[in-house]
Symmetry: C2
């Protein structure tokens, strides 16, 4: 069992794949680019989903569900959006299989069952939703519409990577309709803030809020806000985006409303989403060479207890004591597991829950029991201590809070150490390779320069940070005037 | 606004469609056979989903997620299953769109982006899941696997009907793997019981548990257990099914395990599911000519309060009082809405919440306030009374329980009045048309007889009830011996 695992130092990408496997989160399916999300991975996604869902509802949104298929004529209506996704669309063309006449027991697509109009498997739902909103919106009284949907989407990506870029993924997509530009912009910002708060408070993952440059904007949007996180290899991961869609979809689908004066106006729109990609962000923000590290707020199991015993009567005595603690922890809303599986040895279990990132691991043997003690180990910094059993429930409660904030602070510290202003393009080209991380650089605001930097360094503009300092300067490439620094980094 | 609605008596089918619309539950989308589930309808589905999900977890199951696409070669592996669904498969054949050279701004399917193997949009997931389980199962230690998935599925039905039969629908599908036949059969029964309990306790919908006849069995199963409910027009609705799959999928995908003696055995399987079809069952079990009627256990809003006022200061006084009540109800876990929308009159609101099936509606005017009273109306039997405000929270709590059991008892009473033994086929043929309902009849156990009855009367065998009385007899059609009565009915 003493398998040798890859360290982050050795091969970050291989380390990532091994963590996914060791923590039993997901695996590649037999279907090109599609993943199977395994129970433990799905349990983490459920925790994230439930927290986000509650935040959406608190901010006035309701869930609904729209068809997975988008008829081609609707899909192509908003041209920029269609153009942006056309290259990666799964297309349904037929609706029946029949027996293969040449091959008993096999099936072929029935050529007679060709659809008169092809159906696109949704890569995003603006088109189908705005063709529906057209039916729902007549007057200002019908606005705002604040709807979210939890769904699967399909984008036929050429290179896939588990959680980070898969052909099918799970996500939520909010789609809202408003009377005014100001209201839609406020919604765009609100939801970007909801994502940021979720990332920082629940995932313990610091993010930088900002706006995307024109070339990185969502296809069909007038502005895209983003939250950008730094992974442990210094690369950026776009963790969530919120789009101000202007009146683009309203115009494509002719969605107008009568305002209070009876005048017909096009409706203003936003859309916003996060996906199972967050699972990848989670892994790469906190995990270490021993396995996954989970922030308590989204850990399916927050505390695991492992009995150490030889005789059945010892197990019975330990179980009685642990049951006491279990009741107290559950009353505090802490999710607790007692692993008394007789088929596995304690050492195997220790490694298993370490690999799965369970924040707190307890162990109790007969010596502990006799001395009124219990061993408490924390996953984040791998320290452990033997503590009096009495009152340990309160200790664990504060320990979980401590782990949550420690993980956040650790990630924030890491980001601080790996984000730096840079004023020379030559230096930038060297350091993006040798050191990585985020670079705050002046940029002349043109797509050409952005493209040149991308081609020469693989770094892209992650965002124009909302909270950047007021500082004019000169573009590191062209020397032309710049209104302020933007963040460059290589990205997932 | 005094729109005339269709009554159940006049046209049951039209009434159903109008309820879906009046309660704002769902609508047909522009996409053939696919529906849009609107926020209020989705909120009911969420309530049902959350209750079921908790029951699945209590019974030891975990959620996971498997790909939406099934490569044709996997799909056709289990022949009976493939044959059963082949006629209604949406098939993805291409993965890219390109600009239409003849039509600026339009897109066409790129003929160069043809998939080497077609992908079936899952109509059910046994094939993709068992091809995955093959990788997960080596030894008896890997068993049982108890997994559920919440997902969308697509079946290209010829005739669609909102919620009841749609091309795309939402559902859950459990897929379990076991060492022994007995264990798999026990799981099949357990999950059918979970469905029955959910239907009766949460949906207040009485069901009959039983086994399907061979011809009504799930494609690929050795046995299908079902819960059958009676709708208000006397027709049956299959509300959930649980399948004992034997070793069929294990053999199709070569999934074996080493037992404790090291012998290789095929794995035993079950699968079970309920879908958004339950929304249709819910509507047709309880609703009346005034709109939807919801059992409190699955009502997104259990109590609504409507203020009746002229002056702003009256509204303020009423609001203060209602806020008091709101806090008390929320503390009891009762979902409460105060509708103080100034744009709508009380009469409009009364009709609106009646149409939406909110179980308890409160109203308070200045007279009530002065007298320390509040009006309490129940949706199920449309009675109302003026009660002292003090202590009304406790009254409402017991009222909700009362409504829940009243709805169940009413539906049970209706079913009792519409289920009858029948011993003459001539009489059966007349009564299935004139009276409808469920008929308990002797049947010789052959597919031929079943088929003949279906062709001549449109009635099918809904199930062989588990709790049927021990009674041998003669088939109503052929006079051949019968082991007991089975249920015949027309069905949705």
């Amino acid at each position: 069992m003493a398998q040798k695992y890859t360290t982050r130092e050795e091969d970050y990408s291989k380390w990532y794949n091994e963590i996914v496997q060791r923590a039993d989160l997901a695996e590649d399916s037999g279907v090109r680019g599609c993943m199977v999300i395994k129970p433990y991975g799905y349990a983490i996604w459920e925790k994230m989903r439930d927290i986000l869902d509650a935040k959406f509802k608190e901010t006035g949104h309701s869930n609904a569900y729209f068809p997975i298929f988008i008829p081609k004529s609707l899909f192509e209506a908003e041209e920029k959006n269609a153009e942006g996704f056309a290259k990666e669309c799964a297309v349904v063309t037929h609706h029946r299989l029949i027996d293969d006449p040449d091959n008993k027991g096999k099936l072929i697509v029935d050529p007679k069952a060709k659809l008169t109009e092809e159906l696109i498997v949704r890569p995003t739902s603006e088109a189908i939703i705005w063709s529906t909103y057209k039916k729902w919106i007549q007057s200002y009284r019908d606005l705002p519409i604040l709807i979210n949907q939890w769904a699967n989407v399909v984008r036929w990506e050429m290179r896939t990577r588990i959680f980070l870029r898969t052909a099918e993924f799970l996500w939520q997509e909010g789609h809202t309709a408003h009377q005014t530009k100001a209201e839609a912009l406020a919604e765009t910002e609100l939801m970007n803030n909801v994502y940021a708060e979720f990332a920082e408070k629940s995932m313990a993952m610091p993010v930088i809020k900002g706006e995307k440059s024109d070339s990185e904007r969502f296809a069909g949007a007038d502005a895209t806000y983003t939250i950008e996180a730094m992974m442990q290899d210094g690369k950026a991961l776009q963790a969530g985006t919120s789009h101000f869609l202007g009146q683009n979809f309203a115009k494509a689908f002719d969605v107008k409303f009568a305002d209070k004066e009876g005048k017909q106006e096009y409706v203003w729109a936003t859309s916003w989403g996060v996906s199972t990609r967050l699972m990848g962000a989670l892994i790469m923000t906190h995990s270490d060479d021993e396995g996954l590290v989970l922030p308590p707020a989204i850990a399916p199991i927050q505390v695991v207890a492992i009995p150490i015993y030889k005789k059945d009567e010892d197990l019975a005595a330990i179980t009685e004591k642990i049951d006491e603690l279990s009741a107290k922890l559950k009353a505090k809303g802490i999710s607790f597991k007692f692993d008394d599986d007789d088929n596995r040895r304690p050492g195997w279990k220790f490694a298993e829950y370490e690999a799965k990132g369970v924040p707190v691991r307890l162990a109790m043997g007969m010596r502990d029991l006799e001395n009124g003690n219990i061993e408490v180990a924390r996953r984040d910094n791998k320290t452990k201590e033997v503590l009096p059993f009495d009152g340990v429930d309160a200790h664990i409660e504060s320990l979980l809070e401590d782990i949550q904030s420690n993980l956040y602070n650790r990630a924030l510290e890491f980001r601080k150490n790996n984000i730096r202003p840079i004023d020379s393009y030559d230096e930038f080209k060297v350091k993006i390779e040798s050191e990585g991380g985020f670079f705050l650089a002046h940029w002349d605001g043109t797509e050409e320069t952005e493209k040149q930097i991308k081609e020469e360094t693989k770094a892209t503009i992650r965002c124009i940070p909302f909270d950047r300092e007021e500082e004019t300067g000169e573009c590191i490439v062209t020397g032309k005037p710049s209104a302020g620094r933007v963040i460059f980094a290589k990205a997932y």
